[in-house]
């Protein structure tokens, strides 16, 4: 535990010291990672080379996440794009003892309860991948193109609120980025400010 704490402190210090230089930039390659999933399998970003990949930071307790799950907005999006061959990785970076931290068992339950359409729900309790991507919010969205390049980073849509009534009438940036890129067009809004709850990282 002590070493783990030390390691975490070091990671935090490093990310803090190096700041934005470390954050993956839109247009640059998305950093590879491997994480265990709810089903016990391990998934790597590299496994999905040649496919579009959506990364979605998740915390079932966060009202902003609930906005998109209770309204079925997120699931619809997941199903629409996984049907088009997109890999959708939902990532939970809540540290043990914080809101949204899930065991593999609990994660499995969440997936069926929420009727999630993700390719996998990945568990990142030490926040390693979250830090690597400089993910700050739930939900916080990233889109990676088939060449492994980051093409979108930021909010799920244009309306920073927790009210599900606001979903109708807002622009879904993830949908737009995927559709534009698939049509061979540049992504118009490639970087937006993510909104939501802070990710519950370990101290």
């Amino acid at each position: 535990m002590k070493t783990k704490l030390l390691l975490l402190t070091l990671t935090t210090l490093c990310t803090g010291a190096l700041g934005a230089a470390e954050a993956p930039k839109v247009g640059a390659p998305a950093p590879n990672f491997s994480l265990p999933a709810a089903d016990g399998k391990t998934h790597s970003l590299g496994d999905f080379k040649g496919k579009y990949v959506v990364l979605e930071w998740f915390n079932p307790g966060c009202p902003f996440v609930q906005k998109h799950y209770k309204s079925d907005n997120m699931q619809t999006l997941q199903k629409e794009f996984t049907a088009k061959g997109v890999a959708w990785l939902t990532i939970d970076s809540s540290a043990p003892g914080t809101q949204g931290n899930l065991t593999a068992e609990e994660a499995k339950k969440q997936m069926s309860e929420l009727k999630m359409g993700s390719t996998a729900l990945l568990l990142d309790p030490d926040g390693k991948v979250g830090h690597e991507y400089h993910a700050t919010n739930t939900p916080h969205m990233f889109v990676v193109d088939p060449a492994g390049k980051l093409i979108y980073e930021g909010a799920i849509d244009s309306n920073a609120s927790y009210d599900p009534a606001d979903i109708k009438g807002s622009t879904n940036y993830v949908k737009a980025a995927l559709e534009e890129s698939m049509a061979g067009k540049p992504v118009a809004n490639a970087e937006t400010k993510a909104y939501g709850c802070s990710i519950k990282y370990a101290h």
Binding site: G19, A20, G130, T136, N137, N159, Y162, D163, I199, Y201
Partner: protein, 700 residues
């Protein structure tokens, strides 16, 4: 984004009014009320037409926070949607200075703990029906500790109508009024400086009193679509504090951010985000400045340091008077192209250096001693050529009777003459040009380029005009043998220019440096003579090769020794005449002002001819000198000969990128320095001095 915000407000109020479960009065979590919301006013009764302040008071249980207008990495700001009687107006939320809170994982948020009063100015209509008013608002917030819970409440307040308004809740409102950021004082613009770099913005706090505060912080207020990272604070050697704010995404031309400058117990608001050119002012302001650039470029032709080249050029036109019209126009075009080439090259260099983060200022080449040395060498070689020591195709070979000159060579000659004329012109910051360039340097690459093109067009216009209308050359004498004499005389003019350059070197680097440069120039002259005498077209190829080799060895070795070693080792020294003048420093200015003395600052450089002219004919004239003494105005000289960084910074504060600059700080209004024009007259300076004089001293 505006649309979506509006939509959200609409949606929020609709859902609040109708059926949204989130809009509850209370917000219980584990049996605790997390936030209590109340609507208050700073008056006990409202008077028609009299604005007052209302406040949304949020009381959070310990450990929980609500958010500021910019929530930081996560969260959303509190919203107030007013439901006011008809005719009432509500202002924007005035946000007290928030706390910066760090969450695990390098997440930074801005919010309020315990209690906050969000202030809003309300204006009742001129007529209020009834004896009381009912004010209501839907307030929505997000409250977080380790987890986040949305909350909302319909808050309301009934107030009697009475005149005049009587104060209420004074203590609470005073406490939060005190916590509102102040607007930066008048002179505050000079206390800070924004610098845009490709992936970050740098905010430099020059004001010492602020910079000394160890807790000084910058809270950014980026406006969508701008996305910024966490500001990093660093201390510069000169005591100023620099905040580096990573820019992750921004509209083109973003130059500064809005935000708060937060010190121990006070905070300043830095206004709104600024872009280089908002569409409206851009077309208008830019056109005007491009016109200034054009006029400035034209005036460059009349500047003392270009004069010799102008004569050279006019002489060139005489030469071409016998040619065909097309050829004359071609030469005019080539010459203008030379001017354009230099300015565009310079603009590209500026853009490059600017993006590399260097302090770039007009005439910066002349503060680089090696540039001056190179210029000296070029001027000398041209002079020797005019004297006939050696002949190359430049710049006036035709006059020597070499009629076999090809048109192509002629155009090339004109082209380089254009370049040469412009090289000499740059240090003379003509009136208008200073302002125009000051503007251009804060601008994007495209505008800098445009600005330089405008200057080039201004400078090239007369030549192009003359070559297109060669008929006007009728008034110029016909070519003849006298031209050789004129050419030689031009050589002396160039030597005079060389004297000036050597003096610049001497002033900047001392007598030894000037002598070592002269020694190199001597070797260069011998080289030219060797080349002209022994490498003639009549000589054999072998001889020409040997001579060329000898010349190269001579020039290179003398260059390496005289310039590379001796000159390089020379010390930087500036010997502007300081008699009667105090060396400039911003602190000294403040000191004198504090003692009630008006201060006049002459920003000058040893190589600035306009400065010399102003000093000799105006500032050092008997009338002006005695006026300075009579009114007790302190005279300071800021020496920019070696591009002193403190002086550069001050120049920038006045939106200038070069000297001359004349600033008068009146003791009566120390924060409103008066900038005098670049070309001074005695009457003008005397007028200004009198206005800055202490009123008592004005009596005889």
């Amino acid at each position: 984004m505006i649309f979506s915000l509006r939509y959200r407000s609409l949606a929020l109020s609709l859902s609040a009014l109708l059926l949204c479960p989130l809009a509850a009065h209370s917000q219980k979590y584990q049996g605790r009320e997390l936030v209590e919301a109340r609507l208050l006013a700073d008056v006990a009764a409202v008077a028609p037409g009299q604005p007052f302040t209302a406040g949304l008071l949020l009381e959070m249980v310990p450990g929980w926070h609500t958010y500021w207008q910019f929530p930081g990495d996560a969260g959303i700001p509190t919203e107030i949607n007013w439901q006011l009687p008809p005719g009432w107006k509500a202002g924007p939320i005035q946000w007290p200075v928030p706390l910066k809170l760090d969450e695990p994982g390098d997440i930074q948020i801005y919010g309020y703990h315990d209690e906050v009063l969000l202030l809003v100015s309300l204006t009742p209509p001129l007529k209020i029906a009834g004896a009381s008013v009912h004010l209501a608002a839907q307030a929505d917030w997000l409250v977080c500790e380790k987890i986040c819970i949305p909350g909302g409440a319909k808050v309301q307040l009934d107030l009697p109508v009475g005149a005049p308004a009587t104060p209420a809740n004074t203590e609470l409102f005073a406490k939060y009024q005190e916590r509102l950021p102040r607007s930066l004082p008048e002179s505050g613009g000079a206390a800070l400086h924004w610098d845009r770099q490709p992936n970050e913005l740098k905010l430099t706090i020059l004001d010492r009193s602020l910079a000394r505060s160890s807790s000084l912080d910058f809270f950014p207020l980026p406006e969508a679509p701008t996305i910024t990272g966490h500001p990093r604070r660093s201390q510069a050697k000169d005591g100023s504090v620099v905040f580096t704010i990573p820019v992750e995404s921004a509209p083109p031309g973003l130059q500064s951010l809005g935000g708060l400058l937060v010190a121990e117990d006070l905070a300043f608001s830095l206004g709104k985000e600024a872009l280089t050119a908002t569409p409206k002012t851009a077309s208008d302001g830019l056109l005007k400045l491009l016109l200034f650039g054009f006029i400035g470029g034209f005036i460059l032709n009349l500047m003392p340091c270009v004069l010799p080249v102008i004569s050279l050029k006019i002489f060139g036109f005489i030469q071409h008077a016998g040619d065909s019209r097309g050829r004359i126009f071609g030469n005019g075009l080539a010459f203008t192209a030379g001017i354009f080439a230099w300015f565009i090259g310079l603009a590209l260099l500026m853009v490059g250096l600017k993006s590399a983060g260097h302090e770039i200022t007009w005439a910066f080449q002349f503060t680089n001693p090696y540039f001056v040395v190179a210029m000296s060498a070029v001027v000398l070689v041209f002079a020797l050529n005019l004297f006939g020591v050696f002949e190359i195709t430049l710049p006036a070979a035709a006059t020597t009777g070499l009629l076999g000159w090809s048109a192509r060579e002629g155009y090339a000659g004109s082209f380089f003459q254009g370049v040469f004329a412009t090289v000499l012109a740059t240090p003379c910051t003509a009136p208008y040009l200073g302002t125009a360039l000051g503007f251009a340097f804060a601008q994007s690459a495209g505008i800098i380029l445009l600005m330089f093109v405008a200057i080039a067009a201004g400078m090239g216009a007369p030549y192009l005009l003359l070559s297109a209308q060669p008929a006007w050359l009728r008034f110029v004498p016909r070519p003849g043998p006298w031209m050789v004499r004129v050419k030689q005389f031009m050589g002396f003019l160039l030597l005079a220019t060389l004297l000036f350059l050597l003096w610049v070197i001497g002033v900047a680097r001392g007598i030894d440096a000037a002598i070592w440069v002269s020694a190199f120039l001597l070797a260069l002259s011998i080289g030219c003579w060797l080349f002209g005498s022994f490498s003639t077209p009549a000589a054999s190829g072998k001889q020409r090769g040997i001579v060329l080799g000898l010349v190269l060895v001579l020039v290179l070795s003398s260059g390496l020794y005289c310039i590379g070693q001796k000159f390089r080792a020379s010390k930087i020294a500036s010997s502007l005449t300081m008699e009667g003048w105090i060396p400039f420093s911003p602190e000294r200015v403040q000191n004198e002002l504090a003692q009630g003395h008006s201060v006049f600052v002459d920003f000058t450089a040893a190589w600035c001819i306009t400065c010399k002219f102003n000093e000799a004919s105006v500032l050092e004239s008997a009338a002006v000198k005695s006026a300075f003494a009579r009114y007790g105005i302190v005279k300071m000289k800021a020496d920019w000969t070696n591009a002193d960084p403190v002086v550069t910074k001050t120049l920038k504060q006045f939106d200038r990128v070069g000297v001359p600059l004349y600033v008068l700080y009146p003791a009566t209004a120390p924060n409103q320095p008066i900038v005098l024009p670049e070309l001074l007259t005695q009457a003008l300076v005397l007028n200004h001095l009198q206005s800055a004089a202490p009123k008592v001293a004005a009596s005889p």
